[in-house]
Amino acid sequence: MNETALRRIFTVATPLLLIAAWWGYVELFNVPRFVLPPPDAVFEELVRLFASGTIWPHLAHTVGIIVAGFAIGSAAGFALGFALGKWPRVERIVGPYLFFFQTAPKIALAPLFILWFGLGLTSKIVLTVSLVFFPVMVGTMLGLRSVPANLHALCAILKLSPRDKLLRVELPAAVPEIFAGLKVAAVQATIGAILAEWLSGGTGLGYLMVFAGTTYKTPLLFAMVLVTSLLGIAVYQALALTEKWLLSWR
């Protein structure tokens, strides 16, 4: 009870404290605007963006990529993790390529994505997916493999179909591992969307950031950084809540 109250206080107080620290730093060290604009300048910029409505198409674009990339990426990651987790032989054959591909820096591969998927939305979503799937895949693989041996025995006794086994036993048992991956994936989805927009296109928060960066509009830049981070935090918190609910039995 006391703890929840404290928790509530902190959820409000932490951001305020951070803003105060930011402001204090800018004032005290006389940090120039183009390195780090003061909070009020960023706030004004935010107000302007929202009041004039210019932000909406950009926001919608980015949210769209995040959601699509996250959804497709986690689904793909889950499917791959499932295949690799269930059939170690598959892991031995395709694993090395997957891991190799995954470590290749995405910024360098981006031109390839454009080559293959064009300049449109597809290549952006593909880029996001390529960042999202891996943590989910690793989590799913581990989760499915960590199912306790005696639960496997129970399934074998009851001759559960693979589908039943997956849905009724393996998935619930793998929730902690899968969600650990999903949370990382949520952050990756935001990074991916921004990176994709950085590479091409004239809409989206990522584009606005490049625009702000190359035209030295630092308040706009930091306003976008804030909005993106809030998006990331929102996705993350949604996941954390879902996980808490799914794991309420613990």
Binding site: N150, I157, K159, D164
Partner: protein
Amino acid sequence: MGHKVEKLKPAEKTSSLPVLVSAQAVTKIYRSRHGDSVEALAPTTLDIHEGEFLSLIGPSGCGKSTLLRILSGLEPLTGGTLTWRDGPPTAGSDVGFVFQEPVLLPWLSILDNVRFPLDVFRASRAEANERARAMLALVGLGAFEKSLPKELSGGMRQRAAIARALVYSPRIVLMDEPFGALDLLTRDRMNDELLRIKAETGSTIVFVTHSIEEAAYLSDRVAVMSARPGRISAIHHLDLGPQRSEAIKDDPRFYQWLSTLRKELR
């Protein structure tokens, strides 16, 4: 004394019941991670008859659980053959297994745990609930159907696991020390319930226990195992009649069997 000891004889003429499953020179060698191997089961031959109650007794580590797991198909053989009369069980509802530790799904309530097999076998919701509730009442957990496994005591968890294994009336039930964590009174009650269920459904039961009284009280036959390498040293056909009840404890033959079995185990 009128009892018959079969010393590892493959065919058991003594039983009039048809053989349900026959283990022929079955062996099990576990390989441990360091490469050394443990011979958990030396060549073991055992017929299990349709509808009988067979107990396995023997010292800790002698291979009782291993034999049970082999019979259930959980553990692959490293030698010998396992022959089922009508082919190995194909439906999940054919075999019931009570593990040595209660294996419950920690995210399901007790009721849902007991209902789990029925859900898997796609029984109707209403019927599943009804049967699961009845089973829970039988094991004395009626008041705890909403609890999670971690909210139960050790013995209560084991009772839930027993309820789950019996709720779908499997044709053969394999039970690994099911009543070990129960107090005497509950244990006696569970023994009688088990006999009643068996009489009703005609199930075959293979039962591992450390209690000689329990083995003698419940079983048509008792297989005595000895350790390292595990093997069946004797099989006793108990001539205490098919109908068991508290009355049997007045029968002197019951006590004779107790002392015989106790001696066998030394």
